[in-house]
């Protein structure tokens, strides 16, 4: 809504109006009824113009961000929505962004946008332009023409044409590689697994659809489906009396685009007088179909002539898309990784959540405690999980967030899991331990040698009051945690020192002690530990490695601490801000590991 005459938008709107009237014939301010057509674009004012050098009249529209935003332009006339490229509903033109804003070059920008609009309309007179432009953004045009949604879990790394698993559930359609995968996903997502099965086909084609899009089964089959390799083989598995989901993918330079279609099933036998001869013939056909399936040409013919056709907008929910829009080259190794997370406290819960977010496919979380109100301020879980097992509640939350992943919780200590499910550790690619208690970490450090585990472990912990953070990766063969800590559980080479040794606080009237750091301190260390874990999983780092985060000197001093001489040797000269460094991991020669070696 335009504000009063003193406002910036009103001032610039007046200037634009004046500019339009000086440059174009028959400029008219648009009434609210017309502006309402473009409400979703945030349009607040507009004018109709008729450039004298053009056949087309245009609406020049501005949104509330004007003059920090460009003018919008719509074509006035017969609605070319979905017949011309870059023309949306009510003639709204989707113009590419350019390098300046009206406020920077007020006398150039509107003219430039108008010329672009006219050029676009002129280009749209060419069939070749319509074809090439609409092919370039085929997913977008297909989606605009679709009313129904299709959720896809298809693995697009597999280029083969194949029969897929499809289902209809709660009015939505789903397609995945197998029934099991699909059912697990819908269950994890909270929909249950009671969907109606729908037959489905997937494959890559060479040429994407172009405008005008297919309107019926015949156009769809001849223009798109007939491009599908091995279609005759696939059609043998298809019953034309039932609905069929077809998902076609096209490889483009910027990635893979996919479109969906639903071909309606048709009644194959109409009413008729049944003679013995006809009955026998029909029975013979039924038997043949049972044995060999429907002939491919027969299915194709029915789809072309009788079946209904509906375009479907595909929502990619496969792991590769969710965790990187198909561009993350590390996606596959991460998706296939198995991580065991020991400890789901303030740090462990955040690290597990970030690993899942990054695309780690399988995470087992182990923690023997429940969520208390005092945890919530710096934990991944909130009050809705109060008194629940941290491990199980976190696994459930991750499962709901990423239904394609495998997340499990163990409401127990790791010692119990070692005794009862040691295979979890043997099958893992990485163990991340964020228990936050040095004696437990040292115990795990000792245990992994006993188990002869080959996988590395990343230990993550915060230093006093969260002023430092550590991510230490070791293997059973490398120097261990015991080389970093002394027998009293103190760091052999600390970065900080505090005048008062008792930094941990006690809850009132209760023996529980805690370090009083906040979510920001946890956040810094969470990144440190997650990054080292991902580097190990993707081969970008190798154990042993010790990364240390240190806060700013002023933050440390405020908390009553100061840097040790060893830290000062590490800190860049004259720099007092937060920073991260790598410490050497060497054998201390004093611990049980070194003695055993």
């Amino acid at each position: 809504m335009l504000q009063g005459s003193g406002s910036e938008i009103d001032r610039y709107s007046s200037q634009l109006s004046s500019w339009l009237r000086a440059h174009f014939e028959d400029v008219r301010s648009l009434p609210s009824t017309t502006l309402r057509l473009y409400e979703q674009k945030g349009i607040v004012a507009g004018w109709q113009i008729h450039p004298y050098y053009s056949l087309w009249a245009l609406y020049i529209l501005i949104d509330e961000a004007f003059p920090h935003s460009h003018i919008h332009i719509a074509y006035v006339g017969e609605d070319k929505h979905l017949r011309w490229p870059h023309v949306e509903k009510h003639g709204y033109l989707c113009l590419p962004p350019d390098g300046w804003r009206p406020i920077e070059a007020f006398d150039i920008s509107p003219q430039e946008r108008i010329n672009r609009a006219l050029k676009l309309l002129e280009d749209c007179q060419s069939k070749q332009y319509i074809k090439s432009e609409s092919e370039r953004e085929f997913v977008s045009y297909w989606s605009q023409a679709s009313k129904k949604k299709l959720v896809s879990l298809i693995d697009l790394a597999n280029p083969n044409s194949r029969i897929m698993s499809g289902c209809s559930l709660g009015g939505e359609l789903y397609v995945g590689e197998t029934d099991r995968e699909l059912s697990r996903w819908t269950t994890n997502y909270g929909l249950g697994s009671s969907g109606t099965k729908v037959q489905a086909i997937f494959g890559f084609i060479e040429t994407p659809p172009s405008l005008p899009l297919p309107k019926n089964g015949n156009q769809y089959v001849t223009r798109l489906f007939d491009q599908l390799p091995s279609r005759s083989v696939l059609l043998k598995s298809i019953d034309p009396s039932k609905d069929t989901l077809i998902v076609l993918a096209v490889r483009r330079s910027e990635g893979i685009g996919i479109i969906g279609a639903l071909i309606g099933g048709v009644q194959l036998h109409g009413p008729g007088r049944r003679t013995a001869k006809k009955r026998n013939k029909r029975q013979a056909k039924k038997n043949a179909v049972k044995q060999y399936g429907f002939p491919a040409h027969y299915v194709r013919q029915i789809w072309q002539s009788t079946s209904s056709f509906e375009a479907l907008k595909v929502y990619r929910c496969d792991s590769a898309w969710v965790h990187g829009r198909g561009l993350d080259v590390q996606h596959r190794p991460l998706a296939e990784s198995r991580v065991v997370a020991i400890g789901a406290g303030s740090l462990g819960s955040q690290v597990a959540a970030r690993l899942a977010e990054a695309g780690v496919g399988t995470i087992t979380i182990i923690d023997p405690e429940t969520i208390a109100p005092s945890n919530v301020g710096r934990h991944e879980l909130g009050m809705n999980s109060l008194f629940e097992s941290k491990a199980k509640a976190l696994a459930n939350q991750l499962t709901y967030h990423y239904p394609h992943g495998h997340f499990q919780g163990r409401y127990n200590n790791w010692e119990w899991v070692v005794r009862n499910e040691s295979n979890l550790f043997y099958e893992a690619d990485l163990v991340v331990s964020c228990v936050g208690e040095v004696e437990h970490d040292l115990a795990w450090d000792s245990c992994i040698r006993g188990l002869a585990l080959k996988v590395p472990t990343v230990f993550g912990w915060l230093g006093t009051q969260g002023t430092t953070g550590h991510a230490l990766a070791i293997t059973p063969q490398s120097p261990g945690l015991s080389c970093v800590f002394d027998q009293d559980g103190a760091l052999r080479f600390p970065d900080t020192d505090f005048q008062d040794n008792r930094q941990a606080k006690s809850e009132p009237g209760c023996g529980t002690e805690f370090q009083p750091y906040g979510p920001l301190a946890v956040g810094q260390v969470e990144l440190l530990v997650t990054r080292l874990s991902l580097d190990l999983l993707t081969g970008n780092a190798a154990a042993p490695e010790h990364r240390i985060y240190c806060c700013s000197t002023s933050d440390l001093n405020e908390l009553g601490g100061y840097w040790t001489i060893r830290h000062q040797e590490r800190r860049p000269d004259g720099y007092e801000g937060p920073f991260e460094y790598k410490a050497d991991v060497t054998q201390c020669g004093k611990c049980f590991r070194c003695e055993a070696a």
Binding site: S14, H23, Q111
Partner: protein, 392 residues
């Protein structure tokens, strides 16, 4: 961002829309005759629709930044009540059909003297009364410091002193004769300035009698315009309602030492090219008084006041085509001489542009009548380095 002036085809009457380079609009007078509101009256173009089409809208309601009424004669104020919203702006609303849509006046420019210096036999029309009431409402809001007094739709600027110190207390709103101002809707606008030349309050009773009559209370104003934002205010537009010869004589005498104050690139001939602005004589017989025809004496001072034309000046007469042998015909010839003496042109709205407003575009090299649009080819794109995307 290019300034324009449009003279609407309203017969012999005035209706002028000035669009400043800042985009702000100043409407000077209206003459929306009853027939112009009817369908299929081809001799009476639908000027109300033309005006609305030219205005921007706020919440669907077309608005004019400034409406200046030169004086309250019928041929300068016809259609006010039918086409303009009068009263609190909060009551303005979007009409169901365009014909009934009323225009919001963000700021009025009004002269109190125009309502005082009337002859006894002068009558005021309902439209004039409505203007007066609206002006009073706005002044009262300001005086009483009422809430919303400084909001669009309640704003007013008072041009010229009033009698008996009636403008005391509203000095913030007042522009005295001889003052230059460049505020619109309480905001400084660097694309225009205006010099108020008349009306001038006179204390001498005899002189006041001589000047009685609504025409002689007309606002005379010289508006300086920039062709574009940031450009100097080089183009002068002089307009003077229906001011007659006595007024122009006085204006000349007040300003003859600085004749540039009467300079113009565009002149709207006063009183629709009436001879009464140039001469005290009558062309045709009037009652017992014998008309002097072509022997009418052109008043030298008034003529000087109206002949400070700049090079290539345009003189516009807002009137029907006059007979050659008439007062208007004679005046037309005089103005044509003035224009052509400066290599300029004289135009008559109902002759040269009778179906649509006669439009003058203010360019860097002066006013342009051609109306040629200046849309250009795609400008060269400014090459920029690939900036870091600031937002995800």
């Amino acid at each position: 961002m290019t300034a324009t002036i449009e003279f609407f085809p309203v017969g012999s009457g005035d209706m002028t829309l000035v669009r400043l380079a800042s985009g702000k609009t100043i409407l000077i007078d209206i003459n929306i005759r009853g027939n112009a509101d009817k369908e299929n009256e081809k001799d009476f173009p639908d000027v109300a629709a033309m005006l609305k089409n030219r205005l921007d809208r706020q919440n669907g309601i077309p608005f004019i930044d400034v409406f200046m009424l030169s004086h309250p004669d019928q041929d300068h104020i016809s259609g006010l009540q039918n086409h303009f919203h009068l009263g609190a702006p909060s009551l303005a609303e979007e009409a169901d059909n365009e014909k009934d849509q009323k225009i919001l006046i963000r700021e009025m420019w009004s002269s109190p003297l125009t309502f005082r210096r009337a002859k006894k036999e002068d009558t005021t029309t309902p439209n004039a009364e409505a203007w007066k009431e609206e002006a009073k409402r706005r002044v009262k809001m300001f005086k009483n410091k009422e809430q919303g007094a400084d909001e669009d739709g309640n704003l007013i600027r008072v041009l010229g002193d009033d009698i008996e110190h009636k403008t005391d207390g509203i000095e913030r709103l007042l522009v005295k004769t001889g003052d230059v101002f460049n505020e619109i809707c309480r905001e400084f606008d660097d694309t225009f300035s205006a010099l108020l030349l008349a009306p001038k309050f006179v204390t001498d009773a005899e002189e006041a009698d001589a000047l009685a009559g609504k025409n002689n209370t007309s606002i005379v104003i010289q508006i300086s315009l920039a062709s574009k934002s940031g450009e100097p205010l080089e183009t002068k537009f002089l307009t003077g309602g229906d001011a007659e010869v006595d007024i122009w004589k006085r204006i000349w005498n007040r300003n003859k030492d600085q004749p540039e104050k009467l300079g113009y690139h565009i002149l709207q001939t006063p009183h629709h090219c009436s001879l009464g602005s140039l001469s005290s004589d009558s062309y045709n017989d009037r009652g017992d008084q014998k008309g002097k025809g072509e022997q009418c004496v052109i008043d030298e001072e008034a003529h000087k006041a109206l002949s400070q034309a700049e090079n290539k000046a345009l003189i516009i007469a807002s009137m029907d085509e006059p007979e050659r042998e008439s007062g208007r015909g004679l005046a037309r010839r005089k103005y044509t001489d003035i224009a052509e003496g400066q290599d300029g042109k004289m135009r008559v709205t109902m002759v040269d542009c009778k179906d649509k407003p006669l439009k003058i575009t203010i360019t860097g090299s002066g006013p342009d009548l051609s109306g040629a649009k200046t849309a250009r080819a795609v400008p060269p794109k400014v090459e920029k380095a690939n900036p870091e995307g600031g937002y995800a």
